[in-house]
Each structure stands twice: as C-alpha cells, then as structure tokens.
Symmetry: C2
Subunit: 307 residues, 2 copies
C-alpha cells in the first residue's frame, strides 16, 4: 500500500504518476480539505475534487483543476443574477458539489461522500479527506483575514501573508482510514504541494504527524520548489511563515521529524549536504512534471529507491 499526502494541482501530478505506475487499488490518497469553501451555498472541496477528477481521467489538463471541456452556463447566469463569479465553477463540476452538499445535509460524512463519488466515476484508488470535520485555513494579510480561495483565486495570491491558522484543527479528527493507512503503508510520499497551505493542514490534524513519525514505512517527500521558487503558485512565499527559509534545506527542516528521504531537483544538488545534515536522505533528480512521462518517471524513481 502506497499512501500519498497531497493538495490540489501540483500534488495531483505526482498522484497521477503513481496511479499509472502501480495498481490503482493499492493507492491511498489523503487530501487537504482546509481549502474547502461554501460557494453559492455549495460545499466545494477543491483538492479532493482535483484528485478525484485526475484519477477519473476527467481533469482539465490545461488548468489543472475542473473537468475537461466543462461549460459555464450556470456561472454565467449566476453572474447575471447579481452573484459573484470569481470562483470558476463549471457546470459538470457543479454536479459534484450539488451531490456533496445534498449528502452532507443528509448527515453523511465527507469521507463516505468522496468514496461514493469515486465509485460513480470509476476511481478504484482510495481518496480520503484528511478529516470529516470542517477545518479552514485563514490567512492574515494587510487587507484583513482571507480564506485560502479568497487569497489564491480572488486576490490572485498578491497580498502579503503575515500569518496563517487552521481554524478548527484542534477539534478535528483524521477521517476514518487515514491513520490506519499511514501505519500500514509500504511507502508514504508527501507530494510537491504547498507545505503551509496544503501539506501543513494535513500534518496538523491531531494524530497524523505522529503516525508519520511512527510508521515503519519509508516516508519520502518531493520538493515543490527549485532554487527557492515554486513551479507555480505561491508555495515559496509561505516558507517564512513556517519559520524556515525558502529552499529545499528549509523544507527539510520543516519535515525533518518524519521524512526519511527528500526528493530534490538536480539544480538544488548544492543543498544536498545541508539536508543530509538533518539526517534526511536525498535523492536528486528532475522533479519538473510537465508531461505524463515526467510524472510516471518520478513516481517510478520514488518506488525504486523506496523498495
């Protein structure tokens, strides 16, 4: 069993690589849910959906989120009716949110709803929300406190982030199966997602970080940065908030208590000694994942040096 911890778009690339390189039913994907939002009254789980759509072969490859070829008739009309429309929900995507929102209202937990969506879309890997309870990343900026979507989508990650908190995290519990999967895994891989806003909430769910420390599985993490810059998005800007520098050495410091091996780009090879000094093995390779071949190759390499 291979357990992947992931956020949305960036992490989904590695998730897809593993999906193509292993038996899909051996894969357990634990997703961040701290970016979940209520939009037009609909419960949207952006990271869960990106992973489910990716594994179902539905993902829009250009955008990295949403459903390929989706239309926007509902959103156009919502706008005409005076609603905000900065959060781009496609028509087919809305069907997911309608189904989820209705099932939540009927008292079903997010984990069970996600399993139902996976089954209906033919996804045979397990996709687990980090928690069935509501957790929300709140970002403190000079413009006030923002949700992640307000910061990332509406404000196009331009505001300076002074601090963040995961509202509700202390009271939440890991979703059923999460701790068991980590403890029983053969390999755990932390995907190249934002360490503060995607991986951070997962690690902060009570019990998950401990399970990662204690599991007998090898725990690998893939850097989301090269030369201190993210491939896309603002991950590097969040490193200071974690109290570490924006580099693979900083990342190693943030993950040092549970990671066995850090996968860094060959361009960052000069930082290998700094990472190893923390007792973490290093694997330097090309971590750029533009093509499906890139994704599969990286997954294959991780599988090879972890077995």
């Amino acid at each position: 069993m291979i357990v992947l911890l992931t956020g949305g778009t960036g992490g989904a690339k590695l998730v897809l690589g593993f999906h193509e390189e292993t038996a899909p039913e051996d894969l357990v994907v634990v997703c961040n849910t701290a970016d979940d939002s209520v939009v037009h009254g609909l419960h949207v789980s952006p990271d869960v959906d990106t992973i489910v759509y990716t594994l179902a072969g539905l993902i829009d490859p250009a955008k990295g989120w949403g459903i390929r070829g989706d239309t926007f008739a509902v959103l156009d009309q919502l706008q005409r009716l005076g609603n905000e429309s900065w959060f781009r929900l496609g028509d087919r995507d809305i069907a997911t949110h309608l189904t989820r929102t209705r099932m939540l209202a009927q008292g079903q937990p997010l984990s069970l709803i996600t399993a139902t969506l996976c089954r209906e879309l033919g996804v045979s890997s397990a996709v687990l929300p980090m928690s069935d309870e509501r957790v929300e990343t709140r970002l403190s900026t000079p413009e006030g406190e923002l949700s992640f979507q307000e910061y990332f989508v509406k404000a196009r990650w331009q505001p300076e982030v002074l601090s963040l908190r995961y509202q509700g995290i202390e009271q939440c519990r890991p979703a059923p199966g999460v701790l068991e999967a980590i403890r029983g895994a053969d390999l755990v891989a932390v995907c190249p997602s934002n360490p503060a806003t995607s991986i951070g909430p997962i690690l902060a769910v009570p019990g998950i970080r401990e399970a990662l420390r204690e599991t007998s599985a090898r725990v690998a993490a893939v850097s989301p940065m090269v030369r201190g810059r993210s491939f896309s998005g603002p991950a590097h800007r969040f490193m200071a908030i974690l109290g570490v520098e924006a580099s693979v050495a900083g990342l190693a410091g943030a993950y040092r208590d549970f990671v066995d091996v850090l996968v860094i780009d060959t361009e960052d090879r000069d930082l290998q000694p700094a990472v190893e000094k923390l007792g973490i093995d290093v694997k330097a390779t090309s971590i750029r994942m533009d093509t499906l071949d890139d994704k599969r190759r990286l997954a294959r390499e991780i599988l090879r040096f972890s077995s």
Copy 2:
C-alpha cells in the same frame, strides 16, 4: 392595478397577454408555491419561475417552462453521479435555484428573493409567491402519497388521485403585499390554471379567499377547460376532488363565492345559463391561447368588459 392569480404553464399564457396589454408595473402576479420542491438540495419554485421567466422574455416557448436554449450539463453529470434526473433542471435554471436556496439559507423570505430575481432579470411587474411559508400539495394515489412534481413529472400524471391536501396551509400567511394588492386592485383575474393544484392552494391561504370576496374590484376567472377537458395537463381530472363536475358549470360552483364573471369558450356556450344561475356573469369567447396574439386578445377582452 391588475392582480392575477396563477399557477405555471397554463396561467402564464394569460399573464403574458396582460403583460403585453398593460403597463407592466401595474401588474401584480400572485403565484402558487404549493408545488415547490427540494431537488438535489435546491429549492425549486416551478410556478414562480415560469412566471418570472415569462415576464423576463426567457421562457422556453416550446416546453412552457425553463429557459429558452438552456443546456443540461449539470443534470447529465448528476445522473452520471448516480442521482435521479426525472426533474429536468437546465443549467441556467439551476442558477436561479442556487441563488434562491442560498438566500433562503441566509434567512431571506421567498417574496424578497423573488423580487431580487425579478429586478436582476429586468421584470418590472410584481411577482408575489402566495406565501413565504412552506406549503406542499400532497396527492393521495393508489401508489401512495405523492408530491405534485412526483405525480405530474415523474409519474406523468397517470396515477388516479383519490384526494389531496395542502400540507402546512393552516399555519401559513399570505406573502407581504398579497392581501393589499387584492383589496386595492381595479381588476382581479384568476388565470386558467388547475383549480385544485394551482389556484386551490392560493385560495386556501388564510385570508386570500376572504379578500377576493370583499374586494371592490371585479373578479374574473378564465376557464382552463373546454367541453370538460383541459387544454393540457390533468386539470379536469381534479374537478371531482373539488366536489364539482368537470365543466365550466362545475368551475363556476367552485369559484361562486368570489367570482363576478367567468370567461368560457364559445364551445361551452350551452352551459352559460347554468353558470348564470349561480349569479356569475359569463363572457363566452375563444379561450385557446396558442399564439401571442391569442394571449393579448384574451387579456384585452377581459380588460374591456371589466372596465
């Protein structure tokens, strides 16, 4: 001020006729809401929407409900996700229901939400739900109790209806403005909608029937039947439930306490004496409304003999 009492598709034809023949801002349309349903977690108000879309010029003229040229991407995907899809919600139509459902959840009353939708869609007539409280027509059939939509859409009005009740009617109050409009009207017209399932609930809202009896306005009603058969739909099948025969004479009996003039088709002219015997004036004309010209002519005739 002209007040129209109406259900959906059938009544909407006369509503459009009046809209084209008068100043739109002089029109107050009171709509049945006892067919309202929660579909995929969305609050759908079929009759209100049909009237709003009609007055906004958005109505699908072929179907008589929904938005012209609407697409069904959300519904297709909902079906793929294992949801029922017999209730045909178009994509743009769903934007209406999302807006309404969100505003209801925020505590806004249906009447205010409807006014907002009208404003955003450029409708200058007042469209009032009969009540802001939830009322639901429940039909007793050999197959068990059905909601109106289950009976009408899902079961295609095939089951025998043994009886009906308007659940919640005793506790509900007329929406703000309804009684005032009836009392202050120059003319009230009861549209050719189902007397049991569309007009019946409106009349059963505490206070409305009394206001119709007491208003100094002339109250006209247009028959939804010719020779005891509805133009479309099952209206004639419901007359027995009201305790009257399926004819304009039966209709006159059901409305006799508040209607001044009954508009019947020339084909029903032989029943004119039976209606007049109840103290109701009769206007026999062509009540078929296939074209916009038909709708305008009928509205014009009602305006003429009522002024």
